[in-house]
């Protein structure tokens, strides 16, 4: 199992917390209730289904006061929320896999309109062949259209991050939609001990809702939303450029805001998570492996065992994947001499994992910053729901260690090919 055990709180919990046992999908639903959205739109798709069922049950039980829209498909799910957000609603939904693909047209548009919609992606591998199992392919496929995307390692992190996502999205320096990615199967159905924050404390954390101060469909302040850009010269393209630059600025601002919000969360609730990049036993490491999502739990176990065997290996976990935390990652990479990157999805164009592809850009920055190159290689594992075990990670560690003395292979290593 790669579902990680809950970390012990690093400091005394100042807030009232209820301890419960729940799966990741329920944790996400409880977090959504804590964030008090006005509107949720739902459509079931495996392995997300139980998440929206939990949301529906919370509303039906009167534990959550939100307008629930059972839309006829994911395309309308996100569209309903866009309308709601433009009218001032705090909004939430969840999806994955083919549902996310079907949603892509309004999905692309959400960041352009700067709507702070929060959406869980209960990550699922892509077709074909047909697979209803976990994998990061869905979220990776839509990484380039201006949503903030964060990945969770544990069920507790799912709960805490989902609440934080609303605050990050609605921050006036960000105003972008946020995906909270939780691994299908491993986190969605992985049951774990979870501390549930007190509602009043979360209310104080969230502050005043203000989601459409910048763009609104409101007869009290009429405006035309999303005008056409006229012509291919002059004001049309320059307007377009301002939209795009604004989106990029919001993405870059989010790196700071994500850190601030995580810091505030830690102070209020006593649980601290690395906001962008987590380092594990890295300070005296010669080389490191890099992970994303729930696989990190097994990876850390493997690191501990390797350390016990005398290997000087550490781990870098990416939490914030979009925007890619270039500076934070560069800082971590400066501590090591070789890197192995484990992806749970495929980058078809570069014949490697997508996170590895992103990291290669940072490796170039590393060369320009340090004057020396950092040998690296790509591993692809955990496709179609496969488990990446401690054993797999020992192979990753061994192969990465070899980069200290041997040339790096061009081809990726497919971890589960002979399972």
């Amino acid at each position: 199992m790669t579902t990680a055990t809950l970390e012990t709180p690093t400091q005394a919990s100042p807030a009232k917390q209820k301890v419960i046992l729940c799966e990741g999908n329920e944790a996400a639903a409880l977090a959504v209730a804590l964030a008090r959205p006005d509107m949720v739109a739902v459509y079931p798709i495996t392995p997300q289904s139980s998440l929206v069922e939990h949301v529906a049950a919370l509303i039906a039980d009167g534990r959550m006061d939100a307008d629930i829209v059972d839309a006829e498909g994911e395309h309308s799910v996100l569209s309903v929320l866009q309308g709601g957000a433009l009218a001032g609603a705090r909004t939430y939904t969840a999806t994955c896999g083919p549902g996310l693909a079907f949603m892509f047209e309004p999905y692309f548009r959400t960041s352009g309109m700067r709507l702070p919609i929060v959406m869980s992606i209960v990550t699922r591998d892509g077709i074909t062949p047909q697979s209803v199992w976990g994998g990061h392919q869905d979220a990776m496929t839509v990484r380039e259209v201006g949503w903030v995307q964060v990945y969770c390692e544990t069920v507790q992190e799912v709960l805490d991050t989902t609440v934080m996502a609303f605050k990050i999205a609605e921050h006036h320096d960000v105003m972008l939609p946020v995906n909270v990615c939780l691994d299908g199967n491993y986190l969605s159905y992985g049951t774990s001990r979870v501390e549930l924050p007190d509602q009043a404390e979360v209310d104080a954390f969230m502050g005043v809702k203000d989601v459409n101060w910048h763009v609104a469909l409101d007869p009290h302040r009429p405006m035309a939303v999303d005008p056409l850009t006229g012509g291919t010269t002059g004001k049309g393209p320059s307007t377009f450029v301002r939209y795009r630059k604004g989106q990029c600025r919001g993405m870059q601002n989010s790196l700071r805001v994500i850190e601030e919000v995580h810091e505030e969360w830690a102070q209020r609730f006593g649980r601290s998570f690395a906001p962008l990049v987590e380092e594990y036993r890295l300070d005296d490491a010669d080389y490191a492996i890099m992970t994303l999502g729930s696989m990190t739990g097994a990876a850390k176990d493997a690191i501990d065992e390797a350390r016990d065997a005398g290997k000087r290996v550490g781990l870098i976990k990416i939490k914030t994947f979009s925007p890619f935390p270039v500076e934070a990652l560069l800082k971590s990479l400066k501590k090591i001499r070789a890197l192995g990157v484990v992806d749970r999805s495929v980058g078809f164009r570069w014949n490697c994992g997508p996170m590895y592809q992103e990291t290669m850009g940072v490796l170039y920055r590393h060369v320009t910053a340090t004057g020396s190159s950092l040998p690296s290689m790509s591993f692809i594992g955990g496709l179609a729901g496969a488990d990446i075990t401690v054993g797999h990670f020992h192979r990753v560690i061994e192969a990465t260690e070899s980069l200290l003395t041997k040339p790096a292979p061009i081809e990726p290593v497919w971890l589960n090919e002979r399972d």
Binding site: D67, G83, L86, P222, V225, P227, L228, T229
Partner: protein, 446 residues
């Protein structure tokens, strides 16, 4: 703004001089069947046919001006010129002053007599067996709408002769400023509803949905206002392509959920804004830029669209919406009545209004013929005007009996110019079939 009044209109082409109107008037006003005492007189014209001698209830009445006794006065409430028997001195000067022979001596009383429109229910009009007389009651549209603010700026960039600008302006005047307007890609935003480069022609909140998600986005807007207790009208003015093809799923879903929105489709039977391509609302046989006319291969010439149009309003009826209606800008009174009902229904649930909109550019007819083409569509039953609500079922709002042959419609425009006799008979057959189908629904729903 001046005031408009209802009036009796006469279509000389339909009149055969039977005199039934005169009999009805004489009976009502004198208790006799003496046509000479009727206040409406049908007279032979210098050319073949007939003319009308009847009071026009003039705005600048000469009869009033010439009367030395103050017996004739313009009533500014009803619009009728009233005659007072206590003041009249029977000098008959008024009969000389009137250019329309609209006031004349009634030999039975010895006084002049003139039409008073029977207090708004003229007896002559229903008596005409040929519909040559019509009582035009559209004055309320002018009087009401003229006082409402035009919520579009002047100068929308529509094609010359397009009726959609008319529809947009009138609809927005009617729904008023507490409205959020969705105009998905198509002619309406092409005319500048949302605007270009940050300027807009619309004075209320307006947005581009995607072509695919109009009903869903608008539902989200409406739901949030409902949640916070604000009465905001959610209105879509969409084209037929987006509604019937790629946007149909979100339309159907919103209707099924009975979202409280008013969805108006402006049906110009194709993707006219993007260059006149076929939609599923394009009728059989029509030329479009993706159903062009050509030799084809293997002896199979290309002769326009080979399928019949999807009947979107009937599909919406089967969603059991709060209100569904078809309308035409050639019948504005009917359209206005339906707009009122649709707005009211949209406060309870999903309201759908399907307005047929002849496209002078894409259908290939002269720019001054838009209303005539729209009227011919109805007169031939190519388009039928009806309305539906779940309580009263489906009703015709304009008689579909005694239609003109469909060729009267087809020949009015270039997109049907190539039709073979077989194609024309297919279309005529479909008109008959459609009428039978809607009549069945009207029967069943009642």
């Amino acid at each position: 703004m001046g005031k408009s009044y209802n009036t009796i209109a006469f279509d000389s082409a339909k009149c055969d001089g039977c005199g039934d109107c005169m009999t009805a008037c004489a009976t009502t006003k004198t208790g006799t069947d003496d046509k000479t005492r009727s206040r409406i007189q049908i007279v032979g014209s210098e050319a073949d046919g007939f003319e009308l001698a009847l009071c026009r209830q003039c705005g600048d009445p000469k009869c009033v001006t010439v009367c030395p006794a103050g017996a004739l006065t313009k009533n500014f409430d009803s619009g009728v010129i009233d005659w007072s028997d206590t003041k009249c001195v029977d000098c008959l000067l008024c009969t000389v002053g009137c250019a329309y022979a609209g006031i004349a001596l009634d030999a039975g009383t010895g006084h002049v007599a003139k039409c008073d429109t029977c207090e708004g229910a003229p007896a002559c009009v229903p008596a005409c067996p040929h519909d040559a007389l019509t009582y035009i009651t559209t004055s309320r549209i002018y009087n009401e709408v003229g006082d409402w603010e035009d919520l579009f700026a002047p100068g929308l960039a529509g094609c010359q002769g397009c009726n959609t600008e008319l529809l947009m302006r009138h609809t927005l005047r009617r729904v008023g400023p507490e409205t959020v307007l969705a105009t998905p890609p198509g002619c309406v935003p092409g005319m500048g509803s949302v605007g270009f480069n940050g300027t807009t022609g619309t004075k209320i909140p307006v947005f581009h949905p995607l072509l695919t998600n109009t009903a869903a986005m608008l539902a989200g807007v409406k739901r949030q206002y409902k949640r916070v207790g604000r009465d905001v009208t959610a209105l879509a003015i969409a084209g037929d392509g987006g509604a019937s093809d790629v946007g149909f799923q979100s339309l159907s879903g919103a209707a099924e959920r009975n979202e409280q929105i008013l969805f108006m489709v402006v049906d110009n039977e194709g993707y006219m804004n993007t260059g006149m391509q076929r939609s599923s609302c394009t009728p059989y046989g029509a030329w479009t830029s993706t159903t062009p006319i050509g030799q084809g291969t293997g002896g199979m010439p290309s002769q326009g669209k080979t399928q019949d149009a999807k009947n979107l309003p009937l599909i919406m009826v089967n969603h059991r919406c709060e209100y569904v209606a078809t309308a035409s800008t050639a019948y504005m009174e009917d359209l206005y009545d339906k707009l009122d009902k649709a707005i009211a229904a949209s406060k309870r649930g999903f309201a759908y209004l399907h307005v047929y909109s002849p496209c002078t550019t894409g259908w290939r007819f002269p720019t001054d013929q838009n209303m005539e083409v729209a009227r011919k569509a109805v007169e031939t039953n190519f388009v039928m005007l009806w309305e539906y609500n779940p309580t009263d079922g489906l009703h015709f709002t304009h008689s579909a009996d005694e239609p003109l042959p469909v060729t009267e419609y087809l020949k009015a425009m270039g997109r049907f110019r190539h039709l073979s006799p077989d194609q024309i008979s297919h279309i005529q057959g479909k008109v008959v079939e459609n009428l039978a189908f809607v009549k069945q629904m009207a029967h069943r729903e009642n």
